[in-house]
């Protein structure tokens, strides 16, 4: 054969390479690929677990957020109720206070009227007494003065007479 091509040696090389290829497949290629696949599966599993946990955490977060939102709503409602109750109570108390004040004013007015009437009644009598007393005083005072005047006139007349006599 040209170029020293020898079929027997070609077959020998083929046989040698086939044995090598088979040995390499079982000794290195397959076990290393298997290990790499196993590791990939492990990391995929880890990633999946992490994702599941993340999803779960997200779900819990949403759940808690919803619950917090409910709690906020509830707190708001309770606050509103309390405020409403407080307003009602305040209104009630103000009403009562107003009624009480009204009653007190009425009573005060009644008392004042009664007092005034009483005072007015008392003052009329007193005025009458005072008028009487004043009239009496006035009368007595004028009598005394007339009497005094009379007396002084009399005295003066007596003195004048005496003086004439002496003359």
């Amino acid at each position: 054969m040209p170029l020293n091509i020898d079929w027997q040696q070609i077959l020998l090389h083929l046989f040698n390479f086939c044995i090598l290829a088979i040995a390499l497949y079982f000794l290195l290629y397959k076990p290393i690929k298997k290990y790499m696949a196993k590791r990939d599966a492990y990391y995929d599993e880890q990633a999946k677990n992490a994702k599941d946990r993340l999803d779960e955490a997200e779900k819990l977060k949403n759940d808690y957020a919803a619950r917090l939102s409910d709690a906020d709503r509830e707190i708001e409602k309770k606050r509103s109720d309390v405020l409403h109750e407080a307003a009602e109570y305040r209104e009630k108390r103000i009403g009562e206070a107003e009624a009480e004040a009204e009653a007190m004013i009425e009573k005060a007015k009644r008392d004042a009227k009664r007092e005034r009437d009483k005072i007015i009644d008392g003052a009329g009598k007193e005025i009458a007494d005072m008028v009487g007393a004043a009239a009496e005083k006035l009368v007595f005072d004028s009598t005394d003065a007339a009497y005094e005047a009379f007396l002084s006139t009399a005295e003066k007349a007596a003195e004048d007479a005496e003086n004439d006599e002496d003359k």
């Binding site: 020898d6 070609i10 090389h13 083929l14 044995i19 290829a21 390499l24 290629y29 492990y42």
Partner: protein
């Protein structure tokens, strides 16, 4: 740090002394076999056959056997002692092994997305074999030929029989992918590229033989055997190893992907039929 520097300079000085001694004691006259004969032997292996259990084989086959046995021994050691101790947080050696497998597997998946399980295993084996066997010529193991002369074992693929074996095997792998995916249509697609096995075989052979010839040429003259082989042998061999590995596995993957691509029926005929039916 100082000790290291001193040691480095000592090594450099020793190399320089060795070079000087070599230059002084080697004459300009070539000795030994004629260069044309050496080159012819390197290509045709007519005078350096080696006995293998009664068969006269080329040195390349012995090289192939040694390479295969070495790789298998390495594989056994790794399988028994390393792989069971693989960790989730990998060490350097684990990363190295995983990177190699991922590289070949990735090439198979990238170029043949529809069917790549077998292709990945094949390109892994072929890639490792081509790379290691090309680097093998750096060692320069000596063997005794049938004629009783010393023969340096070169890269297995610099033997045309090994290159043809690998080229045709790659072609049959491509053919098997075509048959597995598309049956007869796959055979047709593969046979369309009938020149592929020849081109793959001779590309491998040519590339590795050229490396071997250059190395032979360099070593033939004793004066060139100093310093120059460090550049020529190591760089040529490393480049060959990388390039030829990449080329063969890439070609195999590309053609495998092409022939194993599922056949898609053309829509035109369907549309025509529908149109005819509607017009009727």
């Amino acid at each position: 740090m100082k000790k290291k520097t001193v040691a480095l300079w000592a090594v450099v000085a020793l190399i320089m002394v060795a070079l000087l001694i070599g230059i002084i004691f080697t004459g300009s006259d070539e000795e030994g076999a004629d260069i044309s004969e050496t080159m012819q032997d390197a290509v045709l292996h007519e005078n350096d056959k080696i006995d293998f259990f009664g068969l006269n084989v080329n040195p390349g086959f012995i090289s192939a056997l040694i390479v295969s046995l070495s790789i298998i021994a390495f594989g056994v050691v790794v399988r028994i002692f390393v792989i069971p101790r693989f960790k989730l947080k990998p060490g350097k050696f684990q990363i190295f092994l995983e990177s190699i497998v991922s590289f070949f597997d990735g090439i198979a998946k990238q170029n043949s997305p529809h069917r790549n399980g077998f292709l990945g295993a094949y390109v892994f084996a072929a890639g490792v074999y081509i790379f290691v066997s090309t680097l093998f010529e750096l060692i320069g193991i000596q063997w005794v030929s049938v004629a009783g002369e010393s023969v340096t074992l070169g890269a297995p693929l610099s033997d045309i029989n090994a290159a043809i074996a690998l080229g045709f095997l790659s072609y049959f792998v491509i053919l098997s992918g075509g048959i597995a995916s598309n049956g007869l249509r796959g055979i047709g697609r593969t046979l369309k590229d009938f020149s592929l096995p020849i081109s793959m075989s001779f590309r491998l052979f040519g590339a590795l033989l050229s490396g071997l010839l250059v190395t032979e040429l360099v070593y033939h003259y004793i004066a060139l055997s100093f310093v120059l082989p460090v550049l020529v042998a190591v760089l040529f061999t490393l480049l060959h190893a990388l390039i030829q590995t990449y080329v063969l596995i890439m070609l195999t993957s590309l053609f495998y992907g092409e022939v194993s691509e599922p056949h898609v029926k053309k829509e035109k005929n369907k549309n025509k039929k529908t149109e005819t039916a509607v017009s009727d």
